[in-house]
Symmetry: C2
């Protein structure tokens, strides 16, 4: 269970202050399929990065499975991130000097759960699942936008994380490729993974069992749309 209690995030720019998140409270159960929507600039990526332990809130309390993350040190946070969490960035954040295959393998190298030849096999399989088996040796600047997005997705899944966070994972994909990606997330959720997706696609609003709508750094509403 992930619990957020009155989470805020303030960005300081000189003497100007941007209140990206004002007061956010909700909980996510194991195995939830959560859709987060809201206008551009409403705080979705900020929220997702705090959920993924990639950033800390300015105030408020977060607990993951009962442990308060504010009480964790950097090493403990890094461990949670690497073992439990798979994160698909809105801007992909692929390493430009590595191929699609190497980018996908990177979390496994840090995670030390998959070893040796198993890593390459698993990475190839994941890239095949996202339709990229003919592009595994391309570097990011030798890939289309949607292909880079799919490498970012494969990489996020490579350590078999229990929580998958995806920031607009189909934004650069045609309808068919987008459907195939959503089928992957659906299957992972059916197998027990917690899936949290930020999206601008209104068709996705009903795909999960929970819909969180943000506006101006606040939760406008939460809809529980199905059985968990």
């Amino acid at each position: 269970v992930i619990e957020f209690k009155e989470i805020s995030k303030v960005y300081k720019m000189g003497d100007v202050q941007v209140n990206a998140l004002k007061s956010i409270s909700f909980s996510i159960e194991h195995g939830d399929y959560v859709i987060i929507m809201g206008p551009s600039g409403s705080g979705k990526s900020t929220l997702l990065q705090i959920l993924g332990c990639l950033d800390r809130p300015s105030s408020g309390e977060i607990s993951i499975d009962g442990t308060q993350t504010s009480k964790m040190n950097e090493d403990q946070l890094a461990k949670v991130r690497n073992r439990k969490i798979g994160f698909v960035f809105q801007g992909f954040n692929l390493l430009p000097k590595l191929t699609a295959l190497e980018n996908t393998m990177l979390p496994m190298i840090y995670g030390n759960v998959y070893k040796g030849k198993e890593r390459t096999e698993r990475a190839k399989e994941l890239l095949q699942d996202v339709g990229l088996n003919e592009r595994i040796n391309h570097r990011p600047n030798q890939l289309s936008g949607g292909q880079q997005q799919r490498v970012a997705i494969a990489r996020a899944l490579s350590n078999n994380p229990s929580i998958i966070l995806a920031d607009e994972p189909t934004g650069n994909l045609d309808t068919q490729s987008g459907k195939e990606i959503l089928e992957i997330f659906g299957r992972l959720n059916s197998s027990g993974k917690t899936v949290i997706i930020v999206t601008h696609d209104p068709d996705m609003a009903k795909k999960g069992n929970k819909l969180i709508k943000l506006r101006d750094g606040l939760i406008e509403k939460i809809e529980v749309t199905g059985i968990g």
Copy 2:
């Protein structure tokens, strides 16, 4: 008029060859509103970059208003790019050390059509049109994904180009913000600008007077949907 005759584009990677565009022929009239769609990896960005004189084809002939671009040198091409063409990149390509305002002003500084105080005024106006008047002094890493996308759009319009090329300009925007951007493109087209948009959004297919569908580096079909 832009004319493409049997345009191909081959990327070489060692002894492997990627035929990103195989043989593309079509013409675009002044004032057209062209929508380009197709699966991820089908060659849309490659085609748009060649249309925008940002890249050269491997074979085939392009003419813009009767002049063959293959006969132009780098300076002449750069002049066409800067004065006639506004390009919105799929990956935004904003300069990280410049603010939204400075990024938007950059083409005007090179173009030398707008001068002095007029540049700042025009840049502020464009940023207001895309809903960013409260973010003009933010640098790209202080902006959300959709805000960066909108700076890229403002920048593409800053030199008042006669041809606007936009590569998935609403991919990171919610439905409402996306509508507002499309209204801007619609108004520019009504005022005589040629607008060419690559998109994955099926709702946009009928927005133009011409629809070009790509598949595997070839034109699958061209639909002329309205009066130019």
